[in-house]
Amino acid sequence: MPCRATTTACILAFVCGVLLFSCLYGPLRRTFVSPARVVPVDSAATLYKLYASNGVRGRIAILFTRHLIAAEYPYASPEIKYIEDAMHHGIVRELYHVVPDRLWAGVAWNLSQVTIYWPTPYGFVGAFEDGRVNVLPLSRLMPMKEKALVLLDAETWTREELHRIAAFIETGNISTDLLAILGGSPDDLAKFDLTVSAAAR
């Protein structure tokens, strides 16, 4: 039988190894797109294919849109299941769903009726098997250190709100390697292309 000191040393080495693993393994498994790009998408299904084809994994996603998950909005397009699939398949590990301030009162009331969401200082958060879903208004969007996958549903936002979102990205409060724009004009696409490029520099 090994002596106590040897056994203790082995256990401590094992524990340190596991701690290192739990700190480093996850970030090492995240994959990013390089160079950063802005891509127009015409549907939610296209967005999922975009993520899958670029091999992104383990990411934070920020969705600037109104409706999110088909299960909560039965009359929404079934394609909105894209984000559920992306989270279940490990492409997205945490989601930030940002809604316009002017629509926040209605969203907040809806979420307050759902027990799996609970209020936080910035909005609401729900915990699911595939990850956390944070729902918040644009005015409470916080700076994020980690590069995020961003979806911008252009038709949800006014001109002024789009400028604010662009400013967030340009100043580096949100950094992204893959910005998908759903709907919107060619000018919007060009503007965000410049914004992302400027932020990347």
């Binding site: 039988m1 401590l12 094992f14 524990v15 393994y25 996850g26 027990t115 098997e129 990850g131």
Partner: protein, 426 residues
């Protein structure tokens, strides 16, 4: 630390008991194996557990809200599905193994805590032939492996405290596996550690050395095993702070559950409240009656009323006996029972009756101890033990057809079927 000595006549008794043990293990295996794989369809919670395990193995995440529990049982299920296929063999073989092996652990623990008597064989027979334990050992509920891993931890700790063997690291690994399965034993775990610490200190070990040993083997090592069980979850890009966050989220989500949110809430209602589990007969489940014939098949959860109703009186008897003898060791089993059962009584969420599985080993150790005390008090030890074991075997074999969908004539089981609640048909 001095190991406990076993007298020569006790060795003979143990030798004789080994033969009975082999028979008990054989019966345990038969009750868990026979016909367990015949049903080609999901039953009980298998439609939730199996897809969740496959999702866990494939994507590192579960389905059906299973994420609120640690992942080890899902990983084990995924492993057996990979070994034996996505078939009843793949779904149920793990629990058949853990359920049968739990009986052996019961015997070994009983042998260490109560050497020289028949308590180990009586307790292991009670568990082996318990229709409730056998029923769940034939499906996918995580309570069966959780109970097994805790018994393994308890066994290694008892080996350490009673015999001075250096089994703390093994206990730490078993403890990690317990924590990685389900959180039933949050109070029982420190209770066992405290008992072992107390015994080790009484044997002359220095407190500082004990603290270091216990800290490394029973805190750090299990925590590392628990973290490692989440390796696939970490592979989804998560880090340690997110792991802590996820566990707080899980506790919050668990506490928010209400009975009406469960799809199978009829099972919650039929299974009774936790305070009823050891106070009244509870029989419920599914049936298939043949038309125009007085026969049927049943898949019933039967809470083993002839022996479960002895549990509370047995625990009281042992507590009085321990108080009279001033023997701390005698209180270990009642305290273990109380530590798990109190959680069920105090927790603020609906409890399914299958949660009782995790306290059954302690309940049956208590009953076995009470039977032994009674036998010695009577002065007729062998007849009392033999009668009790025969009663356990007779009852277990009599109700086995009702837990395993065997075709039975209804007339044989009218008293039981008269109080059974049928919640679904198959």
């Amino acid at each position: 630390m001095t190991p406990s000595s076993i007298k020569p006549d006790s060795r003979e008794m143990i030798g004789g008991q080994l033969k009975v043990l082999v028979l008990v293990l054989f019966m345990a295996a038969c009750l868990r194996l026979w016909g367990a794989f015949e049903n080609p369809n999901y039953f009980e919670d298998e439609p939730l557990h199996v897809p969740s395990a496959i999702s866990l193995g494939t994507y590192g995440t579960t389905t059906s809200m299973s994420w609120i529990h640690p992942p080890l049982s899902g990983l084990i299920l995924y492993g057996t599905i990979n070994l034996f296929g996505n078939t009843p063999y793949g779904w149920r073989s793990a629990n058949v193994f853990f359920g049968t092996a739990s009986v052996l652990l019961m015997y070994l623990i009983g042998l260490r805590l109560y050497p020289g008597g028949s308590i180990p064989i009586i307790a292991s027979s009670l568990l082996a032939l318990d229709p409730f334990h056998a029923y769940f050992s034939r499906t996918t509920f995580m309570e069966v492996p959780a109970s097994f891993f805790f018994l393994l931890y308890l066994y290694f700790m008892v080996e350490y405290s009673e015999r001075g063997r250096r089994t703390l690291p093994l206990a730490g690994i078993a403890l990690g596996l317990t924590m990685a399965t389900k959180a039933y034993f949050v109070l029982a775990i420190p209770l066992v550690a405290g008992y072992a610490f107390y015994r080790a200190q009484q044997d002359g070990n220095r407190i500082t050395v004990l603290c270091a040993d216990f800290g490394v083997t029973l805190v750090l090592l299990p925590a590392a095993v628990l973290l490692l069980s989440y390796f696939q979850w970490f592979g989804r890009g998560y880090t340690l702070p997110e792991f802590v966050q996820m566990n707080f989220d899980a506790i919050r989500t668990l506490q928010s559950y209400k009975a009406e949110e469960f799809l199978n809430r009829s099972y919650i209602e039929a299974g009774g409240k936790p305070w009823e589990w050891f106070l009244k007969p509870l029989i419920f489940g599914a049936q298939q009656l043949l038309p125009d014939e007085d026969k049927g098949r049943f898949l019933l959860e039967i809470n083993n009323p002839p022996f479960r109703l002895l549990v509370i009186p047995s625990l009281l008897a042992i507590c009085i006996h321990a108080w009279k003898k001033r023997a701390v060791r005698e209180l270990l089993v009642p305290l273990l029972f109380a530590s798990c059962y109190l959680l069920f009584l105090l927790v603020r969420r609906p409890m399914f009756s299958y949660s009782a599985l995790v306290v059954l080993p302690f309940a049956y150790l208590a009953v076995a101890h009470a039977v032994e005390l009674f036998a010695r008090w009577c002065g007729r030890e062998r007849p009392v033990r033999a009668c009790f074991l025969c009663a356990v075997a007779a009852w277990g074999l009599y109700v086995f057809p009702l837990i395993s969908a065997r075709l039975v004539p209804l007339c044989l089981y009218r008293p039981l079927l008269g109080i059974a609640k049928i919640v679904e048909r198959f």
